[in-house]
């Protein structure tokens, strides 16, 4: 496609001269996160002097590099083409350095001590395809306007690295205190479950909140919220799976059943529990934020956001606190019981989430169809009346792309895909504007319309 013949139009909603107040909130949250990280790591190092304590201290630099790289990378896409490449390279270098440093710290101070770096690497490799599959499915759930891969991956990376870092420190302190003060048994289990539910969901949820505040143009509604939340959960689940697999391998290897123990963990977390556990919990936080995105009143927005967090915390708590009341027999029927346990304990939450998702997809689709028709009625040429039934159906959109592929190969396929994507962006912009949900100027909509018209010149009539 000859896109180089014209200047890339500005992003959906170009920056206003004065940034909205939500950017200030995002900066405040980020500052609190950084201060918490620094304070708790220093405290851990001074008072605990354990492996997590050292990890937390040495890992700070990695967390800072990843945070900075993420910010530069995400913002690069709202800049003009000339400076975008420079910012993306900077972001890539920072993210690469941060990731390497983090893996180094983790490997040396945690995994190596329990099972060695080779086992840690094998466990990580085993979890990669399943997590990638999970991210692929989660992103595909948004049938109308898929979220950019860069943001989905950023969400997963934050879930894996930043959220787990926050959790290690908070949970270590909680556990140490509870172990020294409470009566061992169900009370201590409940306390630990409260700790996991509260701290882990808050840590994961912060990433979704920051996306909601900073990347508003790519955070349209409940569907987007569920996608981002689930991506954060999948990232968290990835690193937790690697940690548990490696740890259990280290524990049971002297008994000759190390790989069996690690394999069971892999199946429980990356197979059976891929969509049931952390993915479901954090997706509820995203759902709350996504619904808040479209609510008119501040009070309702606050209730929706808090509700998302409360549901996530309760779902997580119920699993951790009550899983012991669902014993697994040491027989062949135990295999059935493992599946039943997940289905009964987490299934209802996942089903509730799917209900929100299905309704959200249909609601979004209807809103977009409404806007397709209204845009077609203006006669601007961006969306033609005959485009409406095609754009309204993901299957028809796919058929149109495949027809283009038959006519003109991959190039034609992608040209049509870009056009469809731009038309969907325009309809989404119109939808938010009609609902008075955006704080950006009208020029953004005109720019999108012009982009569609320009793209149409390169695409033969379908």
């Amino acid at each position: 496609m000859s896109t180089s013949s014209y200047t890339t139009p500005p992003a959906a909603n170009p920056h206003p001269r004065l940034r909205p107040g939500r950017y200030g909130i995002a900066v405040a949250i980020a500052a609190v996160v950084v201060i918490t990280l620094v304070a708790s790591s220093l405290l851990n190092y001074v008072y605990l002097d354990t492996i997590p304590g050292r990890t937390s201290l040495y890992g700070l630099l990695a967390v800072a590099l990843i945070a900075l790289g993420t910010y530069i990378g995400v913002r690069a896409f709202t800049r003009d083409r000339a400076s975008r490449r420079k910012h993306l390279i900077r972001a890539g270098v920072l993210l690469g350095l941060g990731t390497l440093l983090w893996l180094l710290v983790i490997d040396i101070f945690v995994f190596t001590q329990s099972a060695g770096p080779v086992v840690a690497a094998i466990c990580a490799l085993a979890c990669l395809p399943t997590t990638a599959f999970g991210l692929f499915v989660v992103r595909r759930m948004d049938r109308n306007e898929k979220e950019p891969w860069r943001l989905v991956l950023v969400a997963a990376a934050w879930g894996a690295i930043v959220a787990t870092s926050l959790v290690i420190w908070g949970e270590t302190l909680w556990e140490q205190t509870a172990q020294r003060t409470l009566v061992p048994g169900p009370g201590l289990d409940a306390s630990t479950a409260f700790s996991a539910g509260l701290l882990e969901e808050l840590a994961k949820g912060l990433a979704v909140v920051l996306l909601f505040l900073v990347m508003r143009n790519d955070f349209d509604d409940v569907v987007d919220g569920i996608v981002y939340g689930a991506a954060v959960g999948l990232g968290f689940n990835f690193l937790e799976s690697v940690a548990y697999m490696t740890n259990l391998y280290g524990i049971f290897a002297p008994e000759g059943i190390g790989w069996y123990a690690a394999g069971l963990q892999w199946y429980g977390r990356q197979g059976l529990g891929l969509f049931f556990g952390h993915t479901t919990y954090t997706a509820f936080i995203g759902a709350g934020l996504g619904i808040a995105r479209q609510l008119p009143h501040k009070r309702q927005k606050a209730f929706a956001i808090v509700s998302g967090f409360v549901i996530a915390i309760a779902a997580h708590f119920s699993w951790d606190a009550w899983v012991q009341f669902f014993p697994i027999d040491n027989t062949l029927f135990g295999l059935v019981e493992i599946h039943l346990r997940t289905l009964i304990m987490t299934g209802p939450f996942t089903a509730a989430l799917i209900a929100l998702l299905i309704f959200g997809i249909r609601y979004e689709a209807m809103g977009l169809v409404d806007q397709f028709r209204k845009e077609a009625a203006t006669g601007s040429g961006a969306i033609l009346p005959e485009d409406v039934p095609v754009l309204a159906s993901p299957w028809r959109r796919l058929k149109q792309r495949l027809r283009a592929f038959q006519r003109g190969g991959l190039r034609a396929y992608f040209e049509v895909a870009r056009l469809q994507s731009a038309q969907l962006d325009l309809a989404m912009e119109r939808w938010h504007r009609e609902r008075q949900e955006i704080d950006m100027p009208l020029e953004a909509e005109d720019a999108l319309r012009q982009r569609v018209i320009q793209l149409r010149h390169w695409v033969p009539a379908a």
């Binding site: 289990d189 509820f284 209730f303 509700s307 606190a321 309704f359 609601y363």
Partner: protein, 206 residues
């Protein structure tokens, strides 16, 4: 409000079966379901119902259930950690020593770390406890599983059972590594309500 929310959840279920676009006039139309059209009056239908409110109310219903779950968790916590259960009694843990299962005796000096191949046991002095208490002593491993216990009974009856060994889990050759917790507890109604003494021990990986 709550009733409205439950109606909306019901409505949400109906929507999955029959979503459709309902047109009003020639240019403007509202997006409702067949079920929703029944519920809305004619006067209301001229001002389209915002379906985000349905999502919002559904979320509130889920949140209400979530609050109930957390409340049950809190009740469970209070039941097993009842406040005000302090008798002032303190048990004395003499120490944790290497244990010889053949003779049933302990060896060496008090330690706080053991290799996983070593068997070990705690020694409790029951003599300082009031005679009317019901007590026991337990070992928990790093996974929270009970791996050794004596009691429950009165301190006098437990006087001859001062050694509480850790048992290797069935099917394994050695103790699992991690932090072990030894507690002497006071029981009430069969439920431990107070820790009279506590000792943490590390079983090393290597």
């Amino acid at each position: 409000m709550l009733e409205q929310a439950f109606l909306d959840v019901l409505l949400l279920a109906l929507k999955f079966g029959a979503p459709r676009v309902v047109e009003f006039g020639q240019t403007s139309f509202s997006l409702t379901t067949r079920g929703q059209s029944i519920r809305l009056s004619a006067a209301v239908s001229s001002a389209p119902y915002d379906q985000v409110q349905t999502l919002y109310r559904t979320l509130l219903v889920f949140a209400t259930v979530a609050v109930l779950i957390l409340a049950v968790g809190l009740v469970e916590f209070v039941h097993f950690e009842p406040p005000g259960q302090t008798t002032g009694a303190k048990a004395r843990i003499v120490g944790v020593f290497v244990y010889d299962p053949a003779t049933g005796t302990t060896l060496g000096t008090d330690r706080s770390a053991f290799a996983r191949t070593e068997e070990f046991a705690a020694v409790v002095d029951w003599s300082g406890l009031p005679a009317n208490l019901t007590v026991d002593a337990r070992w928990y491993d790093a996974f929270g599983s009970m791996v050794g216990r004596i009691g429950p009974s009165t301190p006098a009856q437990l006087g001859n059972f001062s050694i509480v060994p850790v048992k290797v889990p069935q099917g394994l050759h050695h103790n699992l590594p991690g932090n072990y917790t030894f507690v002497v507890e006071r029981l009430q109604g069969g439920v431990p309500v107070e820790v009279l003494a506590r000792r943490l021990v590390l079983v090393e990986r290597q």
